[in-house]
């Protein structure tokens, strides 16, 4: 039963990417790539050989592996709507955050391994923004924990019910907004970063992986997909009412699709922020989460 | 007897004012000598029934202050070849007037002092005045020699005070004190000699190498 969640995440994660791309295409009036395009890409990359920078000292190869390993284990920790996570315990979201941190850490090292100034630039930005995103994430989680009075991800997400919405809707909304901003930043989406830009000087995540190719790149891309899926899943599960009703699973998937659409909408409706502005966005997220906590306290 | 005593006291005042007013060092030395003699005589004339010890003590004091010290100081005066105290920090007229006020205030002050009987309060007053004179000389003069004189006058004042207020200072101590004063003056004489040799002047206010 709980293994199902893991399998589902591993299988469906690339789909979310294509949903986003599709929605962007539709909004731009194009037909867009086939739904299964991400899978095709992965397969194609896995078939390729690889080229490495002659500067690299091996972390380029190490980074995707570790990153993916970390994200795989994240997949064990995240419940999907009614499906509980395979592994859940008090405070597992801390582990989740830090596993993602581990992935980010090795990715940044991999970027620096090539000695390219562009990748260094990307790593430095990634480090900065991630540091600012962390507090927001934890405050949001703390808010959920206080509201639901349990400290495991599965517990929190599966106890949030209509009553909670009735009692403290404002703080829940704030938490959702904060979490969504964190989600955008963590997954390098507009307005923080533009995954489709071709100007290295403005990139964050994409520029870090300039020198990866072949299976390594495949692992990275899959990691990206997995990460965005998992975080979206958390957001969606907040909205799914508790209980193991199979209908809720359907609702969950729909919500995931909606989130993908929302991301697409954002990406096609607004431009990337100037890098100077990004910290304000993230601090804003933190403020929202803090505000949510404050509201809970005063109740 | 009383008249003699008052004469002595008058002399005491006179010497002090002279010291404050005069600029000639040789003359000042002699004046201090005279003052020493006067102070030596006071106990003989005035106070307690004369004992052999007191006589002896006064005699020593007179000999030292009236004879030995002036001799020593005149020697070092010759060595130092200074004749007069040129413009002291506090001018002669000013110090004279300060001395005048000091005299009056010490008389007033002495009458308030809680010493057993008031019979000696005048002597005490003059002793105080003498001390003040000595201090004035010490802080207002430039020449090393004048400072020695100041020290001597201070000592004189203390001697006078001692003669009145503390009638039970043992002889040994009194003699010890005289001995010390003698050695002190002797030492200062040598010091002046050395100063003169090293700096070829004896202006104390120019000895400001050591500071900070």
């Amino acid at each position: 039963m709980s293994l199902a969640a893991v399998i589902l995440s591993l299988l469906l994660s690339p789909l979310l990417l294509s949903v986003i791309n599709r929605s962007k295409a539709l909004l731009a009036g194009r037909r867009g790539a086939p739904v299964l395009q991400p899978y095709f890409d992965l397969v194609r990359l896995l078939k390729k050989g690889a080229v490495y920078s002659d500067v690299s000292a091996g972390l380029v190869q190490l980074a995707p592996v570790c990153n993916l390993a970390a994200l795989m284990l994240c997949a064990l920790l995240v419940p999907l709507g009614p499906l509980p996570a395979l592994v859940h315990f008090q405070g597992d979201f801390i582990l989740l955050a830090y596993l993602m941190g581990l992935g980010r850490f090795v990715t940044m090292l991999g970027a620096l391994d090539t000695g390219s100034s562009f990748e260094g630039m990307g790593a430095s930005r990634e480090a900065f923004f991630a540091a600012l995103a962390e507090p927001a994430f934890f405050l949001a989680m703390a808010g959920l924990a206080k509201m639901t009075n349990c400290q495991s991800l599965t517990g929190m997400l599966q106890t949030i019910s209509i009553q909670h919405w009735q009692h403290n809707a404002p703080s829940l909304l704030l938490i959702l907004v904060a979490f969504f901003l964190v989600f955008l930043a963590e997954n390098a989406r507009i307005p923080v970063d533009d995954p489709t830009t071709h100007l290295e000087l403005t990139m964050i995540h994409e520029v870090m992986i300039l020198d990866h190719s072949g299976p390594d790149l495949a692992m990275i891309e899959y990691g990206v997909a997995l990460k965005i899926w998992l975080m979206a899943a958390i957001a969606a599960s907040i909205l799914v009412p508790p209980g193991t009703n199979p209908l809720w699973l359907l609702l969950f998937l729909v919500l995931m699709a909606l989130i993908g659409g929302l991301v697409g909408l954002v990406e096609s409706s607004m431009a990337r922020l100037r890098l100077i502005r990004v910290p304000q966005l993230l601090i804003g997220a933190g403020v929202f989460a803090g505000l949510a906590l404050f509201l809970e306290f005063v109740q | 007897m009383l008249t003699l005593m008052s004469l002595l006291l008058f002399l005491l005042v006179l010497t002090n004012l002279t010291l404050l007013g005069s600029s000639r060092l040789a003359f000042c030395i002699r004046t201090v000598a005279l003052q020493g003699v006067v102070l030596g005589l006071i106990p003989l004339v005035g106070l307690q029934p004369l004992s052999l010890q007191h006589g002896l003590l006064s005699l020593t004091a007179i000999v030292l202050k009236g004879g030995v010290f002036p001799w020593l100081l005149l020697r070092s005066l010759q060595v130092a070849r200074v004749k007069r105290e040129v413009e002291p920090f506090i001018g002669f007229n000013v110090s004279l007037s300060i001395g005048f006020f000091a005299l009056i205030s010490s008389v007033v002050f002495a009458s308030k002092l809680p010493f057993g009987d008031n019979k000696d309060s005048l002597i005490i007053a003059l002793a105080l005045f003498t001390m003040i004179t000595g201090l004035l000389l010490l802080i207002s003069r430039r020449k090393a020699l004048s400072m020695v004189l100041g020290y001597l006058v201070l000592e004189n004042g203390i001697y006078g005070l001692g003669a009145v207020v503390a009638d039970h200072i043992p002889m040994v101590v009194e003699f010890g004190v005289l001995l010390d004063v003698w050695v002190a003056v002797f030492g200062m004489g040598i010091a002046i000699y050395q100063i003169n040799r090293e700096f070829d002047h004896t202006d104390v206010d120019r000895l400001t190498e050591l500071r900070g």
Binding site: - | V165, G187, M188, I195
Partner: protein
């Protein structure tokens, strides 16, 4: 048994006499060392049974020794021993080069023993007048030790020392006169102005007695180098030769302070409380600490630096005197510690000054490499001086703080801590470049046996008392402290 007191006074005199007949400078130094050692031997032999036989008097009560004076005697002899041991080391080069003539050497040793004699007299005199005589004599004798080398600066220092201290001591004599005057006209026993009687007599005129104490505090305070009467001290200390400056701040200042303690005891006894004296003690102590701190910050001459340290530490001792029994205990212990430490630092400073040819701290660099023995001596003694554990000064300062806290003297506590803190910062800043850093090898770094003995001995004592304070000494000091307090 009590004859030992007379022997104390005789030995230096005989030494002085003997020196007239000695024709070899080395022998002169040995002779004065011998005299001091003999003195020390007397102390050990005659007073080995101290706790039992104290206090004792002799010569019709004119000479008197109790725990307080015995303690100071001990300190004095330690300082003089170290000094006599160090003197030949210090003067060797000048003797070889003839810069120090035979007569000068003789004069030096005679004055050295002379100052020993006068200080012994000060300590043993029971009559406070005689005590004064001894103190004044100290000035006159030591003045010429300052100018043993007739350099202009030395002469200037000597003149200032002579005149300022003579005036100061003169005030102290007024104090003594006032004590005498404050006595009831009829108190028979007290006629002799013996401390033993003054400290038990009654019926004083208290106002006069207080005035008397102020006079003697300022007077002897001048000699003890309490601010703001300390002005002669840095000059004299910086110009005197090494052993002499050591003896100055090692003991002469303490001798003057000893006289103050005696007066204070009388006053406390007469007033029945130590309120009055402790206020004055605390004020002078704090002023001295602050003033010395301000001069230590901006000091360039190492011996002047040490001189101002003396002002500070005498201030600390005085402060301790104002803080009740524990404070007095701390003060007396501090007397010993400071004397040992300061002797060592002055030895080191003097020798290093000779080796580097200058007492300017800017010129003394990396002494630990240049002249290891004296470098170590300087570094350790200065560290000890600013109160670094495990040296013994840390202990006495700790006791002082404890006393201040027990007495609830918070202002004193704060000022003391701030002042000594500033001193710590500044002195350390001076010390580090002097002792550490790349230093050239010095020609005359060779260190003879007596030199090593002095350094090791003094450092050993400093460490020993820092880590271990034998019970007998504690008892002894408690008694001495009680005497200082003068209260039952």
């Amino acid at each position: 048994m009590s004859g030992v007191l007379i022997i104390f006074l005789l030995i230096p005199l005989m030494g002085i006499a003997a020196l007239f007949f000695v024709q070899w400078d080395r022998v002169m130094f040995m002779l004065s060392l011998g005299a001091v050692l003999l003195d020390a031997l007397c102390l050990l032999v005659g007073i080995s049974g101290l706790p039992t036989c104290l206090p004792m008097q002799t010569a019709g009560g004119w000479l008197y020794i109790d725990h307080l004076s015995a303690w100071h005697l001990l300190v004095m002899l330690l300082v003089f021993m170290a000094g006599s041991l160090f003197a030949p080391v210090y003067f060797r080069d000048d003797l070889d080069s003839g810069r120090l003539s035979l007569t000068a050497a003789r004069r030096y040793n005679q004055l050295w023993l002379g100052s020993l004699w006068t200080m012994t007299l000060t300590l043993l005199a029971n009559n406070i007048g005689l005590m004064w005589v001894g103190m004044e004599a100290t000035t006159l004798v030591t003045a010429f030790l300052v100018s043993i080398y007739p350099k202009p600066a030395a002469i200037e220092a000597m003149w200032k020392y002579l005149i300022i201290c003579s005036v100061g001591i003169a005030f102290a004599f007024i104090g003594i006169l006032l004590v005498a005057a404050s006595l009831p006209a009829t108190g028979e026993g007290s006629q002799q102005l013996f401390w033993t009687q003054l400290s038990i007599a009654g019926g004083y005129n208290l106002l006069l007695l207080k005035a008397a104490f102020i006079f003697s505090l300022v007077g002897f305070g001048t000699k003890a180098g309490l601010a703001p009467m300390h002005t002669w001290l840095p000059d004299a200390h910086s110009q005197a030769p090494g052993p002499v400056s050591a003896m100055f701040s090692g003991f002469m200042l303490n001798a003057a302070l000893y006289c103050i303690m005696r007066h204070g005891a009388i006053v406390n006894h007469a007033l029945g409380s130590d309120q009055f004296t402790s206020h004055l003690y605390i004020i002078f102590g704090l002023v001295s600490i602050v003033v010395s701190a301000s001069f230590i910050i901006s000091q360039h001459d190492i011996k002047r630096l040490l001189a101002y340290h003396s002002v500070e530490h005498l201030g600390i001792i005085t402060l301790g005197l104002g803080l009740g029994p524990v404070g007095c205990f701390a003060a007396l212990l501090h007397t010993l510690n400071h004397s040992l430490c300061k002797s060592l630092s002055f030895f080191a400073a003097g020798r290093l000054g000779q080796l580097y040819g200058s007492y300017t701290m800017g010129r003394i660099r990396g002494a630990l490499h240049g002249a290891p023995l004296w470098g170590i001596a300087l570094a350790c003694s200065l560290l000890a001086l600013i109160g670094v554990a495990p040296f013994s000064i840390f202990i006495s300062e700790y006791l002082l703080v404890k006393a201040a806290i027990d007495r609830q003297a918070m202002v004193a506590l704060v000022v003391f801590l701030l002042g000594s803190g500033v001193v710590f910062v500044a002195a350390l800043e001076h010390l580090i470049p002097m002792a550490w850093g790349a230093g050239e090898d010095l020609p005359g770094k060779h260190c003879s046996l007596p030199a090593v003995a002095v350094v090791v001995g003094l450092l050993g004592l400093l460490l020993f008392f820092g880590l271990y304070l034998p019970a007998p000494i504690q008892v002894f000091l408690t008694r001495a402290a009680a005497l200082t307090g003068g209260l039952p």
